[in-house]
């Protein structure tokens, strides 16, 4: 089973020199140059014998190939450093997967500090005098005493989620798993408020457990990326 991270890792390697189909290469060369070199003529004869050959067989001489080098930790670190430099700023981050278990991450101290500030602001504004467990954990219907107070608490949570997502974007955290989960959570908080309007605290509170799951995934992702150990 391919993970999203594995798919992304493979995707980063897609830009490679690639020989087009031999027929295309031959016809374009003939159109542009009007003649064939001795080398290409010799190879054309091979291709003519098997014109349905897969595209990997090139009409033209292959460019000089570097010997295959196995993926090493040093190479991944170098690649990660290069991407950080290419990003052109000190606030971006990059994660490189070495294998299924180990992740190497480079995050600037400024980014970590900004994220920690955003996390603290979120915890403070989202839950106020309540705890995360009180508001979105199991049994929250016992804490959310009535519709007006529940509406105030959930509205505060919704606003805090939206602001948190914006703060992370401002910090340069552009990981879709993080920002989409936060946007989705804010949407679920909005839906909970709509359900409160039906007059039932229980119905409004029931969907908040899904936000707890989303936040756990966000927290896990931030740890995985080496951005924050205890954000939420």
């Amino acid at each position: 089973v391919t993970s999203r991270r594995e798919a992304t890792r493979l995707l980063r390697k897609v830009d490679q020199p690639r020989a087009p189909h031999p027929t295309f290469a031959r016809e374009l060369r003939a159109e542009l140059l009007g003649y064939e070199t001795e080398d290409s003529q010799a190879q054309l004869q091979i291709v003519e014998e098997d014109d349905d050959a897969p595209p990997e067989i090139a009409v033209l001489p292959e460019p000089e190939q570097k010997p295959h080098r196995p993926i090493t930790k040093r190479r991944w670190l170098a690649a990660a450093a290069a991407v950080v430099l290419l990003a052109g700023g000190g606030t971006w981050f990059v994660a490189a997967q070495l294998d299924d278990d180990e992740i190497v991450v480079s995050v600037s101290p400024e980014t970590k500090k900004t994220v920690e500030t955003a996390c603290a602001a979120f915890r403070s504004s989202a839950f106020s005098e309540l705890s995360r467990k009180d508001l979105i954990g199991p049994g929250n219907n016992r804490v959310l005493a009535n519709v007006p107070s529940a509406r105030v608490a959930i509205s505060r949570l919704e606003q805090a989620l939206r602001r948190f997502a914006d703060d992370l974007r401002e910090a340069g955290i552009e990981d879709p798993e993080v920002t989409v989960a936060l946007d989705r959570s804010a949407g679920k908080a909005g839906s909970a408020i709509d359900r409160l309007d039906g007059g039932s605290v229980n119905r409004g509170a029931s969907g908040l457990g899904e936000i707890d799951v989303e936040l756990t995934e966000v927290e896990q992702r931030l740890i995985e990326l080496g951005i924050s150990e205890s954000c939420l």
């Binding site: 089973v1 391919t2 993970s3 999203r4 594995e6 798919a7 992304t8 493979l10 995707l11 980063r12 390697k13 897609v14 830009d15 490679q16 020199p17 690639r18 020989a19 087009p20 189909h21 295309f24 290469a25 374009l28 060369r29 159109e31 542009l32 140059l33 009007g34 070199t37 990997e56 090139a58 033209l60 001489p61 292959e62 460019p63 000089e64 190939q65 570097k66 991407v83 290419l86 990003a87 971006w92 997502a165 974007r169 340069g172 552009e174 879709p176 798993e177 920002t179 989409v180 946007d183």
Partner: protein, 167 residues
């Protein structure tokens, strides 16, 4: 003069055809990739016929290829009037010289071919070209949240496509 131009074009063709085609092919389906590659080399040939000393570098070829890829994206996805911000010189290192393709890269290409053009484009812009979400959002005329959602959907589609090509 004509023979000079032809000799230079032949050398450039031999050296850069796999580079240009590799760059374009990761962004477009095979037929479009061939069209764009041919257009780039035809333009190079015209320039060399006019001026056999014209400096046509690897960067020139990749930038010409990129501009044509953007034109295709705009046409395929009805993104007319957008993506202008993406017209820029291509980093000559963007297609690693001489590393060749293997099974993994072919599998990526097979998976990309199964995606819709817009999903393919945003994945390439984000993970291959390394553009930040905000830059992609501005180029597409979308807000960052919508772009994140588009990226998340594209990644899910890519994973599903990987599973299909693995079967």
């Amino acid at each position: 003069l004509r023979s000079d131009a032809n000799a230079r074009l032949a050398a450039l063709y031999d050296e850069l055809l796999p580079v240009v085609y590799g760059y374009v092919r990761s962004r477009l389906a095979e037929a479009d990739a061939e069209d764009v590659t041919a257009e780039v080399f035809r333009t190079a040939a015209e320039q060399l016929q006019r001026d056999p000393t014209a400096q046509l570098t690897r960067s020139w070829f990749l930038t010409a290829a990129r501009n044509r890829v953007i034109d295709r994206w705009r046409h395929q996805m009805r993104w007319e009037g957008r993506l202008e911000a993406l017209r820029r010189d291509v980093d000559v290192q963007s297609v690693a010289p001489g590393t060749g393709t293997g099974e993994a890269e072919d599998r990526v290409l097979d998976a990309l071919d199964r995606l819709s053009p817009d999903h393919r484009a945003v994945l390439i812009l984000r993970y291959v070209d390394g553009l930040r979400t905000r830059a992609i959002a501005e180029a597409l005329g979308r807000n960052p949240r919508a772009t994140d959602s588009l990226l998340a959907r594209a990644r899910r589609e890519l994973v599903a496509a990987f599973e299909e090509v693995a079967l």
